[in-house]
Symmetry: C3
Subunit: 266 residues, 3 copies
Amino acid sequence: MSAGAVPIITLLTDFGLRDAFVGTMKGVLLSRCPTAQLVDLTHALDLGDITGGALLLRAAVSFFPPGTIHLAVVDPGVGGPRRPLVLRAGSQFFVGPDNGLLWPAAVQAGASAAFELREERYRLSSVSSTFHGRDLFAPAAGALAAGTPPEAMGPPCSDPVTLSLSSAVVSGREIVGEVLWVDHFGNAITNLDPGVVSAGVGERFALRAGGLRLPGPSSHYGAVEAGQPVVVLGSMGYYEIAIREGNAADRLGLARGTRVIAEPSQ
Amino acid sequence: MSAGAVPIITLLTDFGLRDAFVGTMKGVLLSRCPTAQLVDLTHALDLGDITGGALLLRAAVSFFPPGTIHLAVVDPGVGGPRRPLVLRAGSQFFVGPDNGLLWPAAVQAGASAAFELREERYRLSSVSSTFHGRDLFAPAAGALAAGTPPEAMGPPCSDPVTLSLSSAVVSGREIVGEVLWVDHFGNAITNLDPGVVSAGVGERFALRAGGLRLPGPSSHYGAVEAGQPVVVLGSMGYYEIAIREGNAADRLGLARGTRVIAEPSQ
Amino acid sequence: MSAGAVPIITLLTDFGLRDAFVGTMKGVLLSRCPTAQLVDLTHALDLGDITGGALLLRAAVSFFPPGTIHLAVVDPGVGGPRRPLVLRAGSQFFVGPDNGLLWPAAVQAGASAAFELREERYRLSSVSSTFHGRDLFAPAAGALAAGTPPEAMGPPCSDPVTLSLSSAVVSGREIVGEVLWVDHFGNAITNLDPGVVSAGVGERFALRAGGLRLPGPSSHYGAVEAGQPVVVLGSMGYYEIAIREGNAADRLGLARGTRVIAEPSQ
């Protein structure tokens, strides 16, 4: 990290905000790097939802400046044999369990090296078997923020666990995708992006999902009347199915994994 | 902003904390102003609740120091023709959609100028039609925090959308108000303030609401027995109806918009 | 606080995150100490849950660096005769209502002095009867962060309200404890710690709770099959009852106060 820069550490977990788990991790981070800017991505992932965490993390990283450290913990294997890792990717770093959670974001950011967090200096003096976010990952992320190189934290790891987020598949004149995520507004974000859709079915397309057939992209939510469904290009770069001033997932029965098919519009 | 001051940016949205929307906005803010102090006001507004957001924002601003920038996004018209604005008000700034959300707080803080956010330099290079909080408003708020004057961000706007929060009305020997907000404790905050009430009905008054008639203000919640209703002067400067160690809104059937009448106490 | 150190202020309340109560307190804190690092411990305590707040605060403090200021407000007596306090404990400070909330944490951190917050300079100019978090406690915590000694804030208090968190009791060849907390994952954290258990019943023990008898500690959650109950030493230093990839409290009928008995394993 360049001298004088303000280090940023993001946090993403399935810990919720009812306990003081996240706040306690921040105490450890600030003990190691008192000047860090701490940014919560989310702590409301479904318990053990590695795929959802990987998706949100991947969507967020390009909006953070060089040098940002991403601390992500969705860790059903805590205390067992799964390895604790730091990944270097471009100028960013990813710290968390070796279970795929970090992988899609790190790949997108240009992952170039991984190290196993074994060095005791970069752990708390006492390590529990239930809260590695506090005892292993936060000390390592804080040390990275304070300028420690990841090489100092343990041996290289040549085979981190990988994870692929589902991609749409071209099948004849259709593109078969699915709902990747349902957001707070009930919008159903698919894995259909404009490049794949226009190459496969052209600029004018329709989406079939949940028994409906919806015309291809509108310019924005307000292009339809209130209460009507609408397809727009969403902020993750994928088409999403929304209902203006309504909840598309509830109303149309869409959920993660629901099949969504793009086809020519007539 | 005076040299050396720490810029503060508050955030208020209806985005929830389940997705990484808010965290991603913070990445953009810190990309533009790495030293900013970021303060969440709330992200749990009801979807599209412009009036509620305007109320909470107005109640908060006087507790922040000069130079604070308030980034507020409740934006059902995102991607459509509604304008993106920055308002200057005293030494504070308000950034968000031109739909009234910012107006009551900016007026209270001494609104003196508005500008439309059109300058491309103060937007992300790619602007989605669904997430202007990230693509338009956060870059502008971050630039303000870094010292860019609002005049640089676009042309003056002479007719921002205004919004009035409901006021109590004097009607003979009564003052007719309503419940503006129900808080986390179930307290029903009215729009009746001591100035209006004492001018209209005197210092000794009673409140009628939800079929009950409650004696005028007690000194604090604990002035009645546990489980009993009580009227106190609340922290927004309005009278509120509470139940000691209980939930007044649920127990007394009070909700936003419920009529509340102040009348002489005998 | 040593010159140049970054002051940290933690916040713990039962205020929730729907209103702007917490954000407003942060405006007051930053008005008094613009460079403070603000860390939320939790704001989701059950309303009025002094004991739960005291437990979480005590569990968190040792993970924060010297000089940290802990602002904690669970305050059903707000506006009444209960005193507002600052406690000095080692190099840390605790600010909040005199109702026991601060006590277990302050004792653990080495409480050495208490002062009543009476000095008007360290309050807001107008003090409500409903929100001392904003009007009394935040200004005092901000002033501490800015270097004001607690002695300046009011007279010594020789008799702060104390609170004891429940301890396990040795009874013959059994140790009788209880569930102190149920966390976000549904794990039931008991008040049985390894020192007490091994002194009373030895290293090999079983736990009886909710009609079940569970073998003594496993190394980690994953030591049993998915869906099976498991006893592990948790991150608060107490034994906890979990279900791997499941919710132990729901499945086994465990809640705060549920009796848990440790006994020899055969």
